[in-house]
Each structure stands twice: as C-alpha cells, then as structure tokens.
Amino acid sequence: MKANAICIMIVEDDPAVRNLMTTTMETQHYRFCSARTGEEALAKAVSQKPDIILLDLGLPDIDGIAIIKKIRSWSGAPIIVISARSEDQDKIEALDAGADDYLTKPFSVDELLARLRATVRRIGESRKAKDQDQAVFVNGDLKIDYAAGTVYLRGKELHVTPIEYKLLVLFSHNPGKVLTHTFITKEVWGSNWEGDVASLRVYMATLRKKIEKDPASPQVIQTHVGVGYRMMQSNTST
C-alpha cells in the first residue's frame, strides 16, 4: 500500500504542536486532516474515515480516553496516543481502552515517523491477513505454525514452554501494538495479580533470550518499561 493512500487524522489543540505535525505530514506526503477539539475529532472520524488517528489525550472538551472508547465502538483504525502526561497509568488506560501505541511529549519527529511507518505496514499486513485465513504467522526469522503448535526460528524448530507459546501467539495476533501488562496477564493467566506481572517479566526475558539475536538490543519484542511489550514487525517481512 502506498503511503499517500493512507489518511491520517491529527487531533491536537495546541497550534504549535499541530503545526509541527502537519508540516511533518506534508514533507512526507501523507494525506491528513486535523481537528482541534474532541467534538471535531469525532465528527471527522465519521466523515473522513481516517486510517490512522494521532490523538492528543489532553483536549479541552472531551477526555481522550472517552474519545478512544467512542471511536473503538465502531472503528478499528489504529490510534496512536500522544500525551504530555508522563504517568504510566494514563498510557496504560489509553492502551487498555483500545489505543495501539503511544508517544510522550516531547517527542522527536523521527520517532513520530517511525511509529507511523510501522502502523502503515501493520495495516497492510492485517488487510492481507484478512484475505487469506492464515494458519502460519511469519515475522522476520520467526514463524509460528498455529495448526501444529510449533515455533520456528530461522527455519529451526524452537523449543518453547506452553506459556511462552501462549505469549507468542498473543503477540502474533497483535503485531506492532503495545500490549499492557494487564492485558497480557489477563489473556495468558486469566488473572491480574502482582505476582503475575513479576512472572511475566521473567517469562518475557527468557522468551527473548530464545528468539532475539542480541537480547541486549531486542529486535522482535520491545519492552516498554512500566507499560507493556510490543512485537515489532520485521522490515524484511513480506
């Protein structure tokens, strides 16, 4: 899918930041529209049907979390939350409400563009996935055979424990999306205790040792300290 076929909606009340973002979109030749308030954002989300939404959480009229919930009631378009609040709890709330990713102000333009690219690619992937009901998930060197319940790394079968397998499957269903601890523990353990979060950390660390070439600079699963984990999509993926 070509970049300019994608329509991005920018929801931001601060003129300077909005200006920075629209300028960035222009230079990268993205199609975009912008909204200043929550009301405007909801109206444009219906009328313009954007493919990606960049949403500032601190809007003057409606709380950002409420906007996410409303949009999620009828649209699955990826939402990247932009927040000046540095509290992790805000991000987690937004992610649990249905946002896909987050950026904390002050963010760099490079970072914004990287997130956008990843999201665009994910949209392409999921559209492809819709066409063919996949029995196999492939991401770079990693391959999951859902039917056989086996994992392959660079063509070799990788021994994973049942919980590690569950985790991998969960990530493979949500590539590119930041999954919060709460979400993961609920999906995998069915509960959300403090002990589960601690165990999750250890499982993720061991899992990463198995699937990352260099666990110190992970390429497949990214850690978002205090928030959660994300499976990144390999550029070489087709």
Binding site: Q89, V197, A198, S199, R201, A205, T223
Partner: protein, 904 residues
C-alpha cells in the same frame, strides 16, 4: 481583697458556656396540683405570641382537663413509642426535639424516670442534653424531688419519693418560678377532684394533703427558693470582686449503713451553707470485702448520692478508720467532719474508744458534727451479724478440722510419751494460730480456740472422756488457753489483713506508676492507645474498645480483648458505637452501670483534657460495677492517656508544620534555581531561532546547521530538566507517592541506556547485564531517571573519550534460612573522582561540584539529590565510592523480589 483566681476562672468558664447553652426555666411547686404545668403552658403561650419558636416536647397525658385545654394552639411533638418487653410505652422523644431544634422546648416533670431502654435513666439528663444542644427548656418540678430535701420531706409526709433530681440542676437553672397557692385552696381543689380523679384520691393521698403537711412543704419550698436567690446574689458578689472568702472543707464518711444518706444530705446542706468544698470519703477496711450484696448496693447508692450532691468522692484503704479519716483530713485540709451519732456511742467490748473519740484524738483541730441516726443502725447491726453467720466456706471448715485433728493426734502422742500438759496446750495454741493463717475469716479461729479447749478438756484432763475436770485449777487453765489461742489468732489475722491491704495499695500505686512510665515511653497515638488499653485490661480484666477521636468524630475502633479471648463483633456494633458517639459529643461517661444508655454492653468514658475529647474508651463489663478504687484508677489512667494524646497531637502538628515549612523552603529554592537554569537555554534557543528567521539568506549552510544544532541541544537539555522537575513534584510531605510494579532490572537499565545513547551518541557507554534475572518492585520511570542522572553526571564530569560502565548484579544478604537479595546497579566512570570531603554532601539538594550557582549553566544540583530521594523511597540505598585506578562509582541497590515460576 482579691477574688480567688480559681473562682474567677470558673465563672468565666460558665459564662463562656452559656454562650451556646440553652436556658432552663423551672416552674417550682410544693405539691402536686399547685398549677405548675398550667403556669408553664401559659408561659409557653406567651413566648409563642412573642414570636418564639416553641414546641411542646412532653406533657403528662393524664394532666387535668383545664391544663390540657391550654395545649391548644401550641405545636406538640409526637411522643415516642417504644416497645419494651411487649409493652408499648410512650415517652419523651429526645432526638425528635433535638432534630427539630426549637428555641424553647416544653418538657413536663423534670424528675421523671424514663422507661427502661431509653437513652437516659432520668428525664433531667434528657433536659441537660437539650440545653447542651442550645435549646431553652421550660419544665416543672416539685420540692420533694430535690435530692437534698428528700429526707426532710419524707420525715414530714411519711412518703419516700424515689424520683429525685440533683440540686445543681435546680440551683443552676436560669430562672425558677415559684408556683404557689394557699394550702387551703389546694385541699379544696383536691376535694373537687381537680388534682386526682375522684377514685384516685385515696386515704394515703388525703393524708399527704393534710393542712399541716402542705404548710410544711410550702415552707420548705419557699425557703429553698430563697436559698437559691441568696446563692445567686453570693455569686454576683464573688464576680463583682467584693469580699468573699471561705476555706471550709467539709468531709462526710461513706458507709453501707442505711442511715448514711441522711448524714450525707446534712453534710451537703452544711457545705452549701458554708460555701465549703465538699468531700465524701470511703474507708475500705478489710471487713468491707465481706459486704453482702445488699450492703454493697447501699454503699453504691450512697456514693452516688454524695456525688449528686456535689461531693468529691475519695477512697482510702486501711484498717483503722479513724486514723485514715484523720490522715485524709490533714492532707486535704478538711475543716469540718460530719458523723452519725451511732458512731459516737457504739463501743466494741468497751475496749476501743469509739470512732468520734478516736477522731478527736487523732485530729484535734477538726470540728466534728454529730448527726442523730442511731435507731436504725443498731437493728441493722444485729441483722448483719445474723445474716453473716451462715456464710461458711466449706474448705475453711475442712482445713480447721484437719488442723484440730492433727493437733489432737500430736496431743495423744505427747500424752503417751508422758509429756506435761503444757506441751499439749502449746500444740493446740499453735493449731489455732495455723488455722488463723490458712482460713479467711476470724470466726474460724475463734471457734477453733473454743473447740481446742473443749477437746483438751475431753481427752486429756481427768476424768477423761468427760467435760468435767477434777482439778480446781483447770477452769483457769482453760480460760488462759482460750484467751492465748484467741489473741494469737487475732494477731495473725490482723497481720494477714495488713499484708493484703498493703498489697492492694502497692498494686494501685504500681498500676499508676507503670501507666505513667509506659505512656511516657510510648511514642505515637497507636502506641499510647495500646498501652492505655493494656493497662486497663490489667486493672479490670475486661476487654477494652478504644475509639480514637479526630475532629470531633469517632474513628475506627481498636479492639483489645483479654488474653486468650476472642474479639467479639458485638463490642463494636452500631449500638455500642452510638453510645461511644454520645460520650464523645457530650463529654460524659455512659453505658453499662451508668444512668445513661445503661442497656449497652460497655461502659464508656471520654479520654479528655478539659473540653477536648481525644478518644472514647469502652470497657466491656460483665454485669458487675467497678469498685470505687478501680474507678478512680481508671480515671487516672484515662487522664494520663488524654495528656499523652494531647502532647502527641501537639508534637505531630508541630512536626507537620516543620515538614511543610521544609517543603516550602525546598520549593522556593527549587523555583529560584529553575528560573535561573531555564533562562540560559531559553535565551540561546530564542536568540538562535531569531537569527535564523531574520538572516536566513545571509547565513551559510554550516552556520545555519550550527545554530540549529544549538537549538536542538538546548531543547534536549530542557527536556531532561523537565523530567527531573516532574519527579521533584512528586515529593510530597517528604515522601514520594510511588506506583510500584515488579520490573526486570535489565529492562529498566536498557531503557535508560537507549535514552542516553540517543542523546549522547559520541559517548562510550558500556553495559554488563546481570548474570541472573533480577526483579525488583519499583516505579520504573523514577528508576530510569536515577540511572539517567547517574550516567549523565558521569558524562558531565569526565573527559569525552573516557568510557562509562553500567553494571547490574545481585548481592546476597540475610541468613541462610531467610536469604535476601539486593539488586545492585553500578555506574562507574574514569573521571577525576570526588574528593572525600565532598562525598558526604554530594547528595544534598542544590549541591554542585563547584559549589556555586551563578553562571554555571548545568548547575541545578538536583540530579543526585533526586536520585537519593528516589532510591530511599524505594527502601534502597545509594552511595558513592572511588573507582580504581581513577574515577567514581555510584552504586545503588534495591531489595529484590522473589519470583516463582510454576511451569515445567
């Protein structure tokens, strides 16, 4: 002459209180039917017409028709129906009136006793609560209901009135209106059936309403009113600073005697007449422990009466009543003592001087007033001896007999060995002595002495096996043997009693001393409360519930059960809590064994200093009343506790103020530092940007790039500053509000390093991850900030080409049985190092390497101080060490969290 400062303070206190207290108006009559209720309702009408908010709280429903007619036009509150043991009782609705909060409430019959299950036993207590709530009250009372006049009225009319009110209610009333008619007219009214319906006007009533009776009652009532006026004018005189002086202190002794109330009342009247201090003393003698139920109840009633009449109740323990009284009188400056005549006459065996004589000897400076009371007293004494006789304790009897049998056996042995009779007699005297020691009452040794003599006579004197004695010297031997045995045993009993009493006194002193010491040692409210409860349990052996009070509201109760006792939920149920709340609000004791809310399980006391209540203590009573001495110790303990709680509160407030001041100082310093530190980069950013905007055409690409890079760098620096500031704002009240989650330390370090490498691409930052997985509970963002600050610090103070190493490793500590691990993070640089002198101060806020603020751009000495606060808030430690061969190591550690993985 100056007024006594205490008096003045007291007067000020009462005046202040009157500010919010309601006024009490009493319609006072000398008998039923004089028209008190009528006068009261008329006054209520008057007040209503004058525009006041008047409500009739309660008027006896069987009042005369003419009076009932007066209720028309007055708002009447519905009476409260309570069901008690299947009978519906209607009564005065106290809460209804308080909720309605009228200006004036009309409540008939002040001396009425409430139905069981009401909040207060007596209506006057209801009225006091109304007054306390700021509601003015109109009420009625008859002269025979006044406590101090009860006996006099009874003497005149022959009718004992049970419903009485304390005199202070009457004397402190704001207005008393005497409702008076001629006795002759009252009798006419009675004849017309206006007072009681025809049928009720029985013989007894007619007897009561005789002309002579009524005249006498009228006289008492009039005199009482006059007394009250006198007293008021006296008060006015005191307040107006005119000559007033009294140093009188009147003492009355409490006993279980039925005549004691009379003496107490007389003493109270004297105290009033002399305007003297009034104390009532109870001397707890060893015999007092054997009081039977009726006597104990009478003693309690007498104590209560004295309290009602305004006496300060004191208890002393001792054997010699006169000596104890004299001692107390000397110590408390008593000037007059009131005793009954029976005490003055009654002599025991003519051996001892009577109480009055003893008193006169022991305290020659004391005025002794003797009140006639003997008639009944002697009858009671006989009755008491009769009643006490059958109280025999089986074990004591068995012991006495065993001892006698043993003595007789030894006697036979001696007899067969042909020892002289004197030896056998000695054995018997010894046996009586032993009996005195091991049994609880004197009577056993007395009987033992007698039986010993008889056995000796029976078994060892000629003719044997008879009670006859040939030798004419034997009767003398028997008498001497009996007297010797009895005196020995008496002495032994007395020594035993003395020991018991001193033990009791010592125990009391010890409890108080302990309480004092423990409370002094206890720091913090919880500790003080725990100590107090512990001491009360020790003293009373009852479970204790403590409600701390803050801002006039009860907080969550703390339950302290006895040892080996399970806490009972019923102790803190809503009903009990309501009693505690009442105590807290009214600052008076209530609950079990008191006249207020007596249905409850616990006895509640306010823990207070003056008018401020710091808590409410509930003692879960098991039916029995507290003994007087227990009560006085309990009050002392509570007093200690209240003072300690007050101190604690004051010191806590002071601490909080200090913390606030410190935080304020911190913020002020911070603002000053920030404004300086923000100005520099902001100047650079705005300046560079304006150059770029104005001269973009004239600048070379290299120049432009340099300016843009500067803007970018300064902006980044500002971003870092803001991150630190955000962390600082979370320092509240000296602690941080942390959201702790378990994190893998390596993840956290990597996140920090990602930031650092992005911002400092040219710097060499090495990382040695931990050999094992280390999880610690932390606020990830703050710990990331700590690592960033430490590494940044290294970058700032070391040469550009030198490397910085970050290491994560575990450090084992704790015991083998309970191993603990710390997660250690180390940031080592190869810079110039830090001088030892500077090390202790390096974590101080606003401390910088150069120790100067001016013009050093990166001078906000916040980073390391922040690191320390963050790590400390995580229960971790941070320290600085020297690196080998050169440089500095910053090392911080957090307690690791054990993670269990349950997967095969």
């Amino acid at each position: 002459m100056r007024a006594d400062p205490d008096q003045l303070l007291k007067a000020i206190g009462t005046e202040k209180e009157e500010g919010h207290r309601g006024q009490l108006k009493i319609f006072f009559g000398y008998a039923a039917g004089v028209g008190k209720t009528y006068a009261m309702l008329e006054a209520a009408h008057g007040a209503l017409e004058a525009g006041n908010d008047v409500v009739v709280g309660y008027v006896e429903p069987h009042t005369r028709p003419q009076t009932m007619a007066l209720l028309d036009g007055l708002p009447v509150l519905p009476v409260k129906k309570t069901v008690y043991k299947g009978i519906t009782l209607s009564g005065f609705d106290l809460d209804g009136v308080i909720a309605r909060k009228p200006e004036i409430a009309v409540v008939d019959e002040l001396a009425h006793t409430n139905a069981a299950g009401s909040r207060h036993t007596k209506r006057y207590q209801d009225v006091e609560e109304l007054l306390k709530a700021g509601i003015n009250v109109y009420t009625t009372v008859n002269v025979q209901h006044l406590e101090s006049l009860g006996d006099r009225v009874a003497a005149i009319t022959g009718v004992v009135v049970r419903e009485r009110i304390p005199d202070r209610i009457f004397d402190n009333a704001d207005q008393v209106e005497l409702v008076d008619i001629e006795p002759a007219e009252l009798i006419t009214r009675l004849g017309e059936g206006k007072i009681y319906r025809e049928k009720q006007a029985s013989q007894a009533v007619k007897h009561f309403f005789s002309g002579a009776n009524l005249t006498a009652l009228r006289e008492i009532a009039l005199r009482r009113c006059a007394d009250r006026v006198n007293r008021i004018s006296e008060n006015v005189r005191i307040q107006s600073n005119s000559t007033y002086y009294t140093d009188e202190h009147i003492l009355v002794c409490l006993s279980s005697s039925p005549t004691n109330p009379k003496i107490i009342r007389t003493a109270a009247r004297m105290a009033q007449a002399f305007r003297a201090r009034f104390s009532a003393l109870y001397v707890a003698t060893p015999e007092a422990e054997d009081l039977d139920e009726e006597d104990a109840r009478r003693l309690k009633n007498n104590t209560h009466l004295a309290e009602q009449l305004g006496a300060a109740i004191e208890t002393v323990t001792g054997d010699d009543i006169a000596l104890q009284i004299a001692e107390f009188a000397r110590l408390s400056g008593v000037s007059k003592i009131v005793v009954g005549r029976s005490n003055a006459r009654h002599k025991r065996f003519g051996l001892k001087a009577n109480l009055t004589e003893q008193l006169i000897t022991d305290a020659p400076e004391l005025d002794v007033y003797i009140i006639p009371d003997e008639k009944t007293n002697q009858r009671v004494n006989i009755k008491r001896t009769l009643r006490q006789a059958p109280r025999i304790i089986v074990s004591d009897v068995v012991k006495s007999f065993l001892i006698l049998i043993a003595a007789t056996t030894i006697g036979f042995l001696f007899y067969h060995l042909h020892f002289s009779e004197a030896n056998i007699i000695t054995v018997y005297i010894l046996s009586v002595l032993i009996t005195a020691i091991v049994t609880t009452r004197r009577s056993y040794s007395l009987v033992s002495s007698l039986i010993s003599v008889l056995i000796f006579n029976f078994c060892f004197t000629d003719p044997k096996w008879t009670f006859n004695a040939y030798d004419s010297g034997y009767p003398v031997t028997f008498a001497i043997m009996f007297i010797a045995a009895f005196i020995t045993s008496s002495l032994a009993v007395r020594i035993k009693q003395h020991a018991k009493q001193s033990a009791l006194v010592a125990y009391r002193t010890k409890v108080l001393l302990d309480t004092n010491q423990f409370i002094q040692k206890a720091s913090g409210r919880t500790a003080i409360i725990a100590v107090t409860a512990g001491q009360i349990i020790k003293l009373l052996d009852q479970a204790v519930v403590f409600y701390p009070v803050a801002g006039g509201q009860l907080e969550t109760p703390q339950v302290f059960p006895k040892t080996n006792q399970k806490p009972d939920l019923a102790w803190t149920c809503d009903n009990e809590r309501a009693v505690a709340a009442w105590v807290c609000k009214n600052n008076k004791r209530a609950g079990a064994t008191t006249g207020t809310l007596g249905e409850s399980r616990g006895l509640y006391h306010a823990v207070r200093v003056n008018q401020v209540v710091y808590g409410v203590v509930g003692v879960m009573m098991c039916g029995e009343d507290l003994e007087a001495f227990q009560n006085s110790i309990l009050l002392s303990i509570l007093g200690e506790c209240a003072l300690a709680l007050e101190n604690d509160k004051v010191s806590r407030e002071r601490e909080q103020a200090a913390i606030m001041a410190k935080n304020e100082q911190l913020r002020a310093n911070l603002l000053r530092a920030i404004s300086h530190d923000l100005r520099t980069p902001l100047t650079a950013i705005s300046g560079n940007a304006s150059i770029l905007m104005a001269n973009s055409g004239d600048l070379s690409e290299t120049q432009k790039l340099r300016l843009e890079t500067d803007i970018h760098d300064d902006a980044l620096w500002l971003i870092n500053l803001v991150e630190n500031l955000l962390a600082v704002t979370r320092i509240e009240d000296g602690t941080m509000n942390l959201t702790l989650t378990p994190e893998l330390m390596d993840d956290v370090v990597e996140t920090a390093l990602t930031h650092l490498r992005r911002d400092n691409p040219e710097k060499k930052i090495l990382y040695q991850p931990s050999p094992e997985m280390l999880v610690a509970k932390m606020d990830a963002h703050l710990i990331v900030q700590v690592i960033i600050n430490l590494v940044d610090n290294g970058i700032k103070y070391t040469p550009p080409q030198s490397a910085i190493t970050v290491r994560v490793y575990p450090r084992k500590k704790g015991t083998a049985r309970k191993p603990l691990t710390d997660v250690v993070v180390e940031v080592a640089d190869q810079g110039p190092g830090i001088a030892d002198a500077v090390k202790p101060r390096i974590f101080d806020m606003f401390y910088t390497g150069e120790n100067k603020i001016a013009d050093n751009r990166r001078s906000l000495g916040l980073g390391l101080a922040l690191c320390k606060s963050i790590v400390t808030a995580h229960n971790g430690t941070i320290a600085v060490y020297d690196n080998k061969p050169v440089g500095t190591i910053f090392r911080f550690s957090l307690p690791a969290k054990e993670v269990s993985i349950d997967e095969g």
